[in-house]
Symmetry: C2
Subunit: 324 residues, 2 copies
């Protein structure tokens, strides 16, 4: 096993996209040894910029991300794209979009696209996405773009972990949509108004400005607003310039490191939580869990006292490496 890993790591570092895909699958599926693989890859990561892009359904995210990828490719950057797709937590399975999209960049090994499906209910998607970004980062790509539909807490958690967050808006969305985006709005380092040839682009811009006039960010940055028509490639160079400007700002103010450290604090807590959960689960057999649940459902036992009891009396066995 150790030897296989070494070879996967080596091929992946040498730029083999099949080794990259294999490593991502191991990490995404929590296949045996995923934790050891991440340990081996982690020291090689940390060089890629992580760019998070999010927006409502229909905002044209994929097109914008593809255009931006083309732009960076012209500058000889290598790119990984993680497309986080909303899909059923019950049926699982990724959407085929990445295959279709890959065809657009078919001959170009410098662009790697990977879809991730929503899975489970224990908040695992954000963490898995971050781990997959680490794998791509370790493969030596210059830029990792994470693209999500900006509608829920999961998506906020995902883009929160990026170095730079781009929020994509589009004219003509109802007020309700703007309400949903409340949490998303506050994490934007850069706003894109895509499909800006549509009616209402100025209205969206005014709304952003109005929001910005209400509060100043702790880091002093006022998110820039870039108008694009991604389907025609309009505004893409301007977006890249805005991204570069924010990066420069992060450097002068030494904010990039602070942001990364802050993000890692959050990720560490989440990782500890997940690891503790695995160990807690190991305390209970499925039969015990069902018995307890039946007693609680009948209100013969209260769950609050029970959990206290389980956690307090837990004699934790040494964690298995592959379970972590």
């Amino acid at each position: 096993l150790a030897y296989d890993f070494a070879r996967t790591v080596e091929s992946l570092r040498a730029g083999d996209p099949r080794a990259l895909s294999r490593a991502i699958s191991i990490v995404e599926n929590r296949a045996p040894g995923w934790s050891d693989l991440l340990k081996a890859l982690f020291p090689h990561a940390g060089h890629a910029r992580i760019l998070g892009l999010t927006g409502a359904p229909g905002a044209g995210k994929s097109t914008l991300v593809d255009q931006l990828a083309r732009h960076y490719r012209k500058q000889q950057n290598t790119i990984g794209i993680i497309a986080v797709d909303p899909s059923s937590p019950y049926t699982g399975g990724a959407i085929l979009g990445d295959r279709i999209r890959m065809q657009n960049h078919h001959a170009d090994a410098g662009i790697y696209i990977r879809s991730m499906a929503t899975r489970g209910s224990l908040g695992g998607l954000a963490r898995t996405t971050a781990d997959v970004a680490t794998v791509i980062d370790a493969s030596g790509r210059d830029l990792v773009m994470i693209e999500t539909v900006g509608v829920g807490q999961d998506e906020i958690d995902i883009v929160r972990l990026a170095d730079i967050t781009v929020v994509i808006l589009v004219p003509g969305m109802g007020d309700d949509v703007q309400t949903i985006k409340a949490g998303i709005m506050e994490i934007a380092d850069i706003f894109v108004i895509n499909k800006c040839d549509r009616d209402g682009a100025d209205h969206v811009e005014r709304e952003i400005r109005a929001m910005q006039s209400l509060a100043t960010r702790a880091d002093g940055w006022t998110p820039s607003i870039v108008k694009t028509v991604a389907s025609e490639g309009r505004g893409i160079a301007e977006l890249a310039t805005a991204i570069a400007a924010y990066e420069a700002y992060l450097k002068t103010a030494n904010l990039a490191e602070k942001r990364t450290i802050h993000n890692w604090q959050q990720r560490l807590i989440e990782m500890i939580r997940d690891a503790m959960l695995d160990r807690a689960r190991a305390q209970l057999t499925g039969q015990q869990l069902e018995t307890y649940a039946a007693e609680i459902a009948a209100h013969r036992r209260d769950p609050y006292s029970l959990v206290e009891e389980i956690v307090t009396t837990a004699v934790l066995p040494p964690a298995s490496k592959n379970n972590l």
Copy 2:
């Protein structure tokens, strides 16, 4: 403290809405003693039906819920409504909607409305909502309606815990919106097509039927479809009839208990996770966490080995009751 709780529990059980509000605030804010309060209330809960209602922004959820509440009030049922609002995880704070809505039922103590805001990022909202539902249940209300915007995993988690789940659709939404709802669609016990006087209502119905023709539910139930115009009160009685029909089905097939037990299995795991996380957090001072995060950010330390180490060597102190 114990005496205060006894009095709060007593007033709440006697139907005092202020005691109910106080108890909810303690539970929602995880104020000191929240766990003891829930332990005291839990044996009194379990009698209310829990109805979950979810749908995209603009589907008319609040109006539908209000109309349904009116309908059940006419049958002398007492009602609690929990409106889970999408709002910023950064600023927190509930939307004022409940105050406005309360005015519609102003003179009626039989309807209690409470808004909950999105809080934190560790998946706490679903659990807190479930705990608040337990408090309202223990207060003797016949029916607790939980209303969420059906856009993310959080919302799926929330309505998943209901006895009966109603998914509200509306004609004229784009395909993207239907994609998002994939996870939501599968948890529907009853579909409502609201604003059914709009163009496209038949199209939505056909889409649901097409989806239903693809797969059979494990419990054998085919979710019914009810068309409403909530703003005019049309279809509300039919919805109540559909809800009653599903309840009857649950009873004959003995499915209600199975569903409750299944839900409690999931909730127990989540509660154990949260409690373990609290204890894990107690292992690390803020300073330690920051130091670790800085070392990881600089890639001098890998987080996967670190977490393994923390969890394996954790000597857990007895959990404090109020921390649980």
